[in-house]
Symmetry: C2
Subunit: 330 residues, 2 copies
């Protein structure tokens, strides 16, 4: 018993020490998710992987937010219905629950608001909410799961997007080497990576890339110091608010798992982290990083890769005879 109490005391003091350490930094570690509705999240996981939410029966949420690949498609801009070329780079779904709003322009206030968008976007999944509901509601294997998750019979788009959002909330990536360092493990990152982090802070990157998600909590102008040159037509927040001052204001992307979420920027025009860091320095901070400085920052950024999704491939319930059939070529 005595030994037990001593261990307990030690744990408490370590816990206090790490909290103190982390709170001095502009970046906070990711904590385990709490308060998830497990039945909704389990259902949402299946729906996230279900291509029957699209008109073609071929595109699921996971097609563009591929959980095997950092929650992105690793393409400059996404492929949608009939191979439509999307207008913007697909943001990662990992840690997206930390964002102040969803989409690059923040036009959806939360994950649930986001989830309904692609389903009915003609250039993405090209279905309608009505059709998606009809499809899902027809599938016997889903019916009991909706009842369990929501306590009532029936399927509607509100339940579908609530379940998907609940699943997405679970997609956090704790335990990155950087978080281990924040939590007191001095050897979790090496000298080069520490140097990169110091430079990341001293150069001003943390003015925007801070907090738990190392971004995602503000809108900032792309091209603050020097205009950003791109063929991409996105205008950022302006598209939502129509205020001139919101032109080219985009949600600052999270840098969590940035090693996995290439290519970078809303237009996907930075193919590598080296490119992205160099451009950011130039257009946002009026800095020209040396090759060595750039390499250190990149080394630091790669310490932000956390535990990736860790679950069984979901098995989807089969369609029934009455389920509306996919129409990929219509």
């Amino acid at each position: 018993m005595r030994q037990g109490s001593m261990i307990f005391m030690t744990l408490i003091s370590v816990s206090i020490a790490t909290t103190t350490l982390a709170s001095n930094e502009p970046i906070q570690p990711i904590e385990a998710v709490k308060g998830i509705n497990e039945a909704q999240a389990a259902l949402g996981k299946k729906l996230f992987f279900d291509p029957r939410l699209s008109k073609s029966g071929f595109i699921s949420c996971n097609s563009c937010h591929n959980l095997s690949m950092g929650g992105t498609d690793n393409l400059k801009t996404s492929i949608g219905h009939k191979w439509n070329q999307g207008p913007i780079n697909a943001p990662t779904v990992l840690n997206s629950g930390f964002n102040l709003a969803q989409f690059w322009d923040g036009r959806a206030k939360d994950l649930k608001g986001q989830a309904g968008g692609p389903i009915e976007n003609p250039g993405e999944m090209a279905s309608t909410h009505k059709l998606a509901v009809e499809v899902v509601a027809s599938i016997t294997g889903y019916q009991a799961e909706f009842k369990r998750a929501f306590g009532s019979e029936g399927v509607d788009i509100d339940k579908i997007t609530t379940a998907i959002a609940e699943f997405e909330k679970t997609l956090v990536t704790p335990n990155s080497r950087f978080d281990q360092w924040l939590l007191g493990n001095k050897d979790a990152i090496n000298e080069e990576e520490k140097k990169g982090y110091q430079l990341f802070k001293s150069s001003g990157c943390t003015a925007c890339h801070n907090g738990v998600a190392v971004g995602g909590n503000s809108y900032q102008k792309m091209g603050l110091i020097t205009p950003y040159k791109t063929d991409n037509k996105a205008t950022g927040r302006f598209g939502v608010t129509k205020k001139e001052s919101d032109k080219f204001m985009f949600k600052v992307p999270t840098l969590r798992n940035i090693e996995l979420t290439y290519p970078y920027f809303h237009d996907g025009n930075a193919a590598t982290l080296t490119d992205a860091v160099q451009t950011m320095g130039k257009i946002q901070l009026a800095k020209e990083f040396s090759q060595e400085e750039n390499a250190s920052i990149v080394a630091f950024l790669k310490t932000l890769t956390g535990d990736q999704p860790d679950f069984k491939l979901p098995i989807l319930p089969p369609s029934q005879d009455k389920t509306p059939q996919p129409a990929p070529f219509k």
Copy 2:
């Protein structure tokens, strides 16, 4: 100890009894896979899910042989590069190791021979073996895995397809209710399902749909009694052998997991099992099943759904700066 021995004796006698039972039937239960090279299969699983094997970076083996959906895409014919409409229904990859050859026309002699096909088919993944090898070889996270799996440095198409095939060999689906019944559990299927099985045998379906995979072990003419009407241009084995007698000879598909692998036939023109059973009766057996008979056979067929793939979603190693970039719109 005494009780232990008695349990052991009981297990032996059950085992003998079930073997005897199963061997009297034209369908054999699926046994657990043996002799798998685990390192190759683990690597192959990642490659199976990796869209970087395609030119677009968007299409993986799993896109058309979706392991969440019975190893198929549940489309009449598949979607390929730039939304190309494929010529034929994607066969399930589940239990495909039991097939006498691969593809509907048997043009690949085994799983390894099959795996290389779609990668370089311009209407499917639209890459080349050379490019696929260059992409995979550039990815640091894959390099050690190839060494572990093959005992030698380097990546080539032979190793890639060997690994994918080794993974595919693991995709068997034992423990269906029908197999439980074959193995001696009399209550595993109900009276209606038993009636359906008797009818399935007495009507002659087992002439072609037999063995472990309930098919997959012979070529047969589609439209044996009555010509099969379809707009689909596939000519079956004729395309491979150029023998007139091989026209419309197709590999008999497995009926394992048939509940999940809709729509049916090489052209995907039968949307439901009811349709498929009725058409088969008519054109292969000169039988017009009553509605009741059809329903019994369908009930039996649904007992062939076995244990679905049961593994963690693979996490793919990220591309490197030097990795050739996907070209979805070129």
